[in-house]
Each structure stands twice: as C-alpha cells, then as structure tokens.
C-alpha cells in the first residue's frame, strides 16, 4: 500500500515527502500511520499529558496549600492577640487558596463572630453547615447567634445538633459546656421546665466531677428546682463538707425550699470559711430574721410562738397602713379613713395591739397568724409589691401559705 504523507503544520495531505503543502505552503511533512498506530500514538500522548499535568498540578497544589497555611497561621496569631479585623483579612486570603478548608472557614466565622459581625458570621456558618451539618462547633456558634437574636427554638435545635455532633477537640468537655449553654438559654427565656429536664438528664450522664455538679446544682437552683439542687449539693457535701461554694449552694437551695434554719446554719458555716462575702452575709441576716419571726418554727415555746404571731400581725398592720396612707404624718388635714371593707380588719389589728395579753394557746396563735396573713394579703392586693418592703415577713407568710 502506498505511503500517505501529511503537512505537520496544518495536517492536510500532501502528495509526497518534502512536497510543499497546498494549504499552508510549508514543507514539513510526516507519514500518516494507519489508524491503530495513530490511536496508540494518541493514547501514549494522552498518558504523557496526564503525567505532565499531574506534576504541574501537584506543584500548584503544594504552592496553594503553603500560601493558605501561611495566611491561616498569621490569622490565628492575630486573632489570639485580638486583632480580629486583620485576622479576618488573612483568613479570607487563606480561603482564596484553599476554598474548601473547613478549619479556615471556621476560623473566619469565629473571627467574624468575635468582631460582632453576626450576620456575616451566620452566613459563613450556614454555608459550612450545608456541607458539614454535623460539625458541632458550627452548630454551637449558630445557636449563640440565634439565641442572641431571640430565635430560641432555632437556637435549641442548633444546640441539640451541637451536643450530638462531631467535636474535633475535647468532645466530652465541649458537649458538657454546650449542654450547660442550652440549659442557660432555656432558663433565661423562662423555659424552666425544659431547662430542669435538660439538667436532670445531664446530671445522670455528666461526670461526677465537683465543678460539673456544682454548675448543675447552681443552674437547677436558678431554674426553680431547689429540691433537685439541694440533692446535688447534699451529695457534694457528703464528699467534701468544707467546700464553701457547695455549702453556699446548699444553703441557698434550703432557703428556696423554706428550710430557713438549715439555710441559716449553712450560711453561718460558709461565713466561717470566708467572712468577707457580702452576699452570704445578707442572706444569713435574712435567714436569721425569718427564723426569729417564724411562729411555726419547731422547738420553740408556746409563749415565744405567741409573741412571734403578735409581731407578725403588727408588721403586717404597719405594712397595710403604709400602703393606705403613704404620706403618713406629712398629710395635711384630717386623716383619710380606710376603705370600708378593710375597717373590720384594721379594727381587729388595733384591738390585738391595744388589748391585754391573751394566753399563748394554739387558737390564739392561729388567730393572730391568720390575721397577719389577711393583713399582708390586703396590703399586697391594694399595693402590689408592698410585701417586698419587709422581705422576712413576706417569706414567712409565703412559707405559711405553702
């Protein structure tokens, strides 16, 4: 078979080797191989090109990674020193070289969050979440942003994903911290039942470390579950009876439960360990006042009980009179008579104060307590919040009605 020749410039067929190409006038020619040979040549060229491109690409990738890592390193350092704006710039640069790098994306989102550019941070985090829905840190940051904007349900959902998500560093510690954040969020938004449920679950699963248990106890107390909090602190006290924080926590739980004697005892113990805490000191003073006023306290004589009931009635009367006549002696002209419906109650109180002493029988004590309660309630209903002027009285009355 006759050999075919082509022009090497334009690949058109030419009559013989070295002939001038009629199309491009060139004289560089080559024989045309049969199709199998040509196919082999093409495949060999293809493989060579694959190899060359591979080498070229790997050097490109290496350079890309190096540049990205350098910018990310600078960004981390700047972020550590609080230069968030500059850190953001470097993270952005890093991401131009390594767009898919989760660490850099997260670093950028964190820097934006720290710069309080919440909307931008949220957009970044949502993008990240779309690709990595189980990344716990992303979900926790999203939860914080949602919580900040008052989107509680959304925040709870993000927190839950974060709790069960993938933590790259210290998973147990981060899960715990996230659960605490969730409980705090629920409590802060008045969802106390959900917060308590969350904390009780956490108590079962969390490690028995005192710091963890103390936080659980504190949050339970804040969420309105003093009985559960008391249990937690009691357990901690059994392990270390001299932990001042635990003693205060237990005292507060007992206080909230209305066990003022126990609370007073523990506040005293706490004060003995650190006498400078003004909060504990004021709590102790209040506990002491309550314990001095409470006529139902166990172990006191009938006379003492009677005296306390009289004091309760007198303080309640004073509270009501202040409510009815807030100007007191400064009022010009004749005193304003009390409302008709309250006149019998006030007359009863006057009679109790001016009348001669009654025997300290249970009936008399009960009658005095009942009068004190009615007077207090009258004051509270006519002047809401009036009861707060006498906190000890208020807590005793509330404890009695419980």
């Amino acid at each position: 078979m006759a050999q075919k020749y082509v022009c090497l410039i334009c690949y058109n067929e030419i009559p013989h080797a070295g002939a001038e190409c009629p199309h491009c006038k060139s004289r560089i020619s080559s024989t045309v191989g049969s199709t199998p040979q040509m196919l082999v040549a093409i495949f060999v060229t293809m493989i060579l090109l694959f190899i060359v491109t591979g080498f070229y690409n790997s050097s490109f990738r290496a350079e890309q990674r190096e540049r990205a890592a350098e910018h990310a390193r600078m960004a981390r350092t700047l972020a550590d020193y609080g230069y968030h704006r500059q850190a953001i710039e470097h993270y952005r640069e890093a991401l131009t070289y390594a767009r898919d790098n989760v660490e850099y994306q997260l670093g950028l989102a964190l820097a934006l969050y720290d710069m309080e550019r919440y909307s931008e941070a949220e957009n970044r985090l949502l993008d990240l979440r779309a690709d990595h829905p189980t990344l716990a840190l992303v979900n926790r940051l999203l939860a914080r942003i949602a919580a900040r904007d008052g989107r509680v349900d959304e925040a709870v959902s993000y927190y839950r994903t974060a709790i069960f998500g993938e933590w790259r560093r210290d998973p147990a510690g981060n899960r715990l911290a996230t659960r605490f954040e969730l409980a705090e969020l629920l409590r802060a938004h008045g969802e106390n039942m959900r917060a308590v449920g969350e904390l009780l679950d956490l108590r079962k699963e969390a490690p028995a470390r005192p710091d963890v248990q103390k936080t659980i106890g504190r949050l339970l107390l804040e969420a309105g579950a003093p009985d559960n909090a008391a249990q937690v602190f009691e357990e901690l006290l059994s392990r270390n009876a001299k932990d001042r924080e635990v003693i205060v926590g237990y005292a507060q739980a007992q206080f909230a439960l209305g066990n003022y004697v126990t609370a007073q005892t523990h506040f005293e113990r706490a004060l003995a360990l650190d006498g400078d805490d003004p909060e504990v000191r004021s709590r102790l003073a209040l506990s002491q006042e309550i314990n001095r006023l409470d006529p139902t306290r166990r172990g006191i004589s009938s006379r003492n009980r009677y005296r306390r009931s009289l004091e309760m009635a007198a303080r309640s009367t004073e509270l009501l009179q202040e409510c009815l006549n807030p100007l007191g002696d400064k009022l010009v002209g004749p005193p304003v008579p009390p409302p008709k419906e309250l006149q019998p109650l006030l007359a009863q109180a006057r009679e109790l104060r001016s009348g001669k002493a009654q025997p300290p029988s249970d009936e008399n004590i009960e009658a005095n307590i009942s009068l004190a309660e009615r007077l207090w309630q009258a004051a509270e209903s006519r002047c809401p919040g009036a009861g707060n002027q006498d906190r000890a009285l208020r807590l005793v009355v509330e404890n009695l009605s419980r």
């Binding site: 082999v40 090109l49 350079e63 540049r67």
Partner: protein, 576 residues
C-alpha cells in the same frame, strides 16, 4: 532477554497489533470515540491553562498592603506581551474564540490551526494572569476547538464530520473552564450550532462531560462559586429580580453598542497603534486595580466575596461600573482574553448592588444579597452574549439550587428581551463583521418563523372533484376554473389526482358520460398534515402537482390542498 528500550517499544507495538486486528470502526463510532478523546485532551490543556493563570496571578495581581505602585504596570506589561505574541507569532489567536469556532463550522470545513491553540494559551495566560480584566473561557473554547480540529484531521474524518468537530472541542473547552458540563453543551448548541435537533448533540455531551471529568480530577469538583443558602419567602421578592433584569438588559445593550463602536474606532487607527493600545488599556486597568483590586483578572474571587455579603451595595455598584469601563477598553484595544467572565462579573456586581440597595431601603420583603449577585450574573450574560437558555442553566448549575431557577428565568428573560430590543446585533456578530467574518446570526436563525403547510394550504374547493362526477362535468368544471390538475375524492376516503388532458382523452374515446372512477385510471397521492413544515412538504410535493391536506384527528376530513404555487406564495408572502 529484552532490553528496556525494546520493552518500551514493544508495548505500543503490541497495542497497535491488537487494534489492527480489532473489528474496524465505522465513521459514527470513530466520531464518538474521538469526542471522548477531544474532551480528555481539552480538559488536560484547560487544567494547565488554569494553573498557569493562577500561578502568574498570585504574583501579579495587587493585594492591598502587599505590593506597591509597581503593580499598577503589571497589567500593562501583560497586555503588551500578550498582544505582541498574537501580532508577531500567533495571528490566528487574534479573534474571539466563539467566532473562530463558528467560522470553522460554516467557513473552513472544521479547520482550526493548532498555532491558534498555542497562541491563545500563551497570550491569554500572560494577559489574564497579569491582572487584565478578561476571562479564560473564550480562549479555552478556542483551544478546545483547535485540539478537536487537529484530532479530526488525524482521524481523517469526512468533510461533513470535520465541520462539526470544532463545536465539539469548543464544548469541551468551555465545560472544563467553567466546570459546568450542562452549560457548555447548551452554550455550544445555542450559540455555535444554533440547532437543538442536531445529530452532533451526543458527541458534544460526551466531549463536555469527559473534559469536565478530567478537569475535576485535577482541580477538584467544587463549583465555580460557593453559593450561600437562600430561599424565596415572599412573591414580592421577585420584583427586585425583575428590576435587576431591566438594568442588566439596558446596561448590556449599552455595553455592546459602545464597546463595539470603540473597537471599530481603534481598528480604524493606523496599524502601529495595535502595539500601543493594549498596553495603554492595561495601564488603565492597573490604575483602577490599585484601588479596587477585585476588578482585576477574571474576578471570580470578588464575585464569591460579593455572594457572601462582604461588600456594601455602593461598593458593588462601583465595582460593576469600573469593570464595564476597563473591560470595554481592554476588549476594544485587543488585550487577549474572553468576555464571559467579565460579563458574569459586571452582572453580578450590578445585581448585587441593586439587591443590596433593595435590602436596605425597600419596604417589601427581600432576599439575601448573594441571590441577587447570582441572578445578576446571568442577566448581563444573557444580554451581551445573547444566550438566554445558557444563562439560566449556568446560574442553576453553579448554584445547584432549584429555588434560583424562577428568579433567574424572570431576570434573564427580561434582560435578553430588553437588550435585543435596544441592540439588534449581538456582540460576537458585530465583532465578527469587524474582523471580516459575516457569520450567520444565531439569533436570527432562532427567531425566524418556521412556515408550515397550514400557512400555505388553499381551501379552494374547486380543486377537488368527486369520483362519481362524469368526465364531461369534470372537464367543464376544470375549464371554468382554468385548472390543469385536480384532486379526486373517492367514496372510501382514497385520493387520487388527474390532469385535464386525461379527461380530454377520455372524451375523445367516447367515455364522457362515464364517471371519473370508471373512465380515468387512478393516480394515488399521499396526504399532508397542517403541522408539517413547508420545507418537508416541498420535498414530498416533488412528484405530485397537488396534494390533499387532511386533519390528523380525522384523515378523511380534507382541510385544503397544496400545490407548488401555494408554497411559493407562502414564501413570497413571508418576504413581504
């Protein structure tokens, strides 16, 4: 024992022997195999092209605080080197890749010189890599077409297939550059081939897909942009998208008109100016880029940042308008590079700017700025490149979001229609004319009304005779109507035709009293239907002087008749 060099040669020899003994491939199989090979080669070349641009850009494009005033001159230097490469060594790499591919399809029997591939690669790498505001897609498209043409010649394809080979390579090139196979296929079908039922579709898909596979193998499968999540909460949000479409349409028409006018003016200058103009345009780009580095290069990084809400709406608008200015200058003066990326950039920034403004001031619900950037990107593309289908699918493909389809369709269609109304000819068409290429306008082909039989048929009942009519009656009827041929309807729904001389012969033979079915030998005909294209009908009419047009629902129901005169009249009326 074989020495290593012998072994090295033995493998290809053995392979060649296997292939030689394998069953011979037909032209169709060879064409399909070639499409894959084209895709692979184009993919590899585009990967190298992409990496080269990136390597150069890392060291050239100004980053605030990292480089001084020297960076202002880099685009100018890149433009000068790139344009000198084209002027002195690679003249075939001068024009637009789209036009070159179309020219290969319509003019040069698929011939795209390989020198244009090398020229495009080198000149565009230097130009775009040094920061000139041009895009790599159009050069990639031409490189794909060049590779396809070279392989087609090596494969010794027939002339017909050689013509189609350039669009196949173009799809591979653009697919690998954008990392979007659907967009690549649609663009080539819409803009280059201009036909949706072409048999070449399979090959275009194969080459585009194989190019994208190769590109993703090396560069990763991440899309061109990281599109933020968004949703449409309220139908009134669509109003802002429509507004983006209006602005995108007006701006793209204006851009096309003034850029091509500027180009014409530059072409009319003395030839020596070709050495200076690109460098001058590059200098303007460098000065603008010193303060706004986002506008330099292809600008995909800036689009990505805009999608993530990193710029204020004022900055986005400034970016958009500055890019319009420097792209118009660079493109007109002959700075190597394509128009795809700039079109996307301008649209994205204008869309984002309008969207950002709406988000700030509109009392109605609005979407995120990222979604306006994304939709805006398609509007300027639809208006200037005049590929509305491609623009919608491109937005969809880069975002992978179904939610974006509706806003993209609304905005892009509006932009396309406004741009088409304001500026009749597309940018590529005008540029082609300026370069001496009068290529068929795809838009005109697309919009030309297709005539059907319905447009030409005659409902004149005198052309139809009943088979039970006597020969005498039939002849007098035909004479009265000056007819030479007529259709004959038989009772059983059959049709035939006769000539007047048949009747005259029958009368001469004394058969004037007989009915047509008795006296005349039936000449059967075929039926036409009203929805048939006039072109197809004309081919069918060839052997018949007249044909019946029936209803598809009831083939015995005659809607009219069609003769060659009717067809001529229909075409003549269209001309008017």
């Amino acid at each position: 024992m074989m020495r290593p060099p012998d072994l090295l040669l033995a493998v290809p020899k053995k392979l060649a022997e296997i292939l030689r003994n394998a069953p011979k491939m037909g032209e169709t199989q060879r064409f399909l195999l070639l499409s894959i090979i084209i895709g692979v080669f184009s993919g590899l070349l585009v990967v190298c092209f992409h990496i080269s641009i990136e390597f150069l850009a890392w060291n050239a494009i100004h980053v605030p605080g990292s480089q001084g005033w020297g960076s202002v001159f880099l685009p100018s230097l890149g433009a000068a080197i790139g344009s000198l490469l084209v002027i002195l060594f690679f003249r075939t790499a001068r024009s637009s890749g789209v036009n070159y591919t179309k020219a290969a399809l319509y003019v040069s029997d698929g011939y795209v010189p390989f020198s244009s591939v090398i020229g495009k690669f080198l000149a565009s790498t230097v130009s775009i890599g040094s920061g000139n505001p041009m895009g790599p897609e159009d050069p990639a498209l031409q490189m794909g077409a060049g590779i396809a043409s070279l392989l087609g010649r090596l494969f010794r394809l027939t002339r017909e297939n050689m013509r189609l080979i350039a669009p196949i390579g173009a799809a591979a090139g653009i697919g690998a550059a954008f990392n979007t196979p659907i967009t690549a296929v649609l663009f080539v079908m819409e803009e280059v081939v201009a036909s949706w039922n072409a048999g070449v579709l399979g090959s275009i898909v194969l080459s585009a897909v194989s190019a994208v596979v190769v590109s993703r193998w090396y560069l990763g499968d991440e899309p061109l942009f990281q599109v933020p999540l968004f949703s449409i909460e309220h139908p009134t949000e669509l109003l802002v998208y429509a507004l983006i479409g209006v602005v995108g349409g007006v701006l793209s028409a204006w851009f096309t008109r003034y850029t091509t006018q500027l180009r014409a003016r530059f072409i009319s200058l003395p030839p020596r100016s070709r050495y200076v103009l690109p460098a001058a345009a590059g200098l303007v780009a460098g000065i603008v880029g010193y303060w706004f580095p986002g506008v330099l290069g292809a600008g995909y990084g800036a689009i990505d940042s805009a999608m993530h809400d990193q710029f204020t709406w004022e900055t986005l608008l400034v970016f958009g308008f500055l890019k319009v200015l420097i792209v118009a200058l660079c493109f007109s003066s002959g700075v190597p590079g394509g128009m795809f990326a700039p079109a996307l950039f301008i649209g994205a920034m204008i869309g984002g700017g309008i969207g950002g403004m709406a988000t700030t001031y509109s009392p109605l619900p609005t979407s995120s700025v990222g979604s306006y950037v994304l939709v805006g990107m398609g509007t300027f593309f639809a208006g200037s490149i005049r590929a509305p289908m491609t623009s919608v699918f491109m937005v969809f493909e880069v975002s992978a979001s179904y939610v974006i389809i509706l806003p993209a369709m609304i905005a892009n269609t509006i932009a396309y229609m406004i741009s088409r109304h304001m500026q009749r000819e597309s940018m590529f068409h005008i540029v082609g004319l300026q370069d001496g290429l009068d290529l068929p306008s795809v838009e005109e082909q697309r919009e030309a009304p297709m005539l059907t039989v319905e447009d030409a048929l005659s409902s004149d009942s005198s052309r139809v005779l009943q088979a039970r009519t006597t020969v005498d009656e039939a002849l007098s009827k035909m004479q009265a109507n000056e007819m030479l041929q007529a259709l004959v309807a038989a009772d059983w729904g059959q049709w035939s035709w006769l000539e007047r001389k048949d009747l005259e012969k029958a009368i001469e033979a004394g058969r004037g009293e007989e009915t047509l079915d008795q006296a005349i030998m039936a000449r059967s005909v075929i039926r036409l239907y009203p929805d048939l294209s006039l072109d197809s009908a004309m081919r069918l009419l060839g052997p018949y002087p007249i044909l019946p047009v029936s209803s598809r629902a009831n083939s015995n129901r005659l809607l009219g008749t069609l003769t060659l005169n009717d067809v001529h009249r229909a075409y003549g009326l269209t001309k008017l």
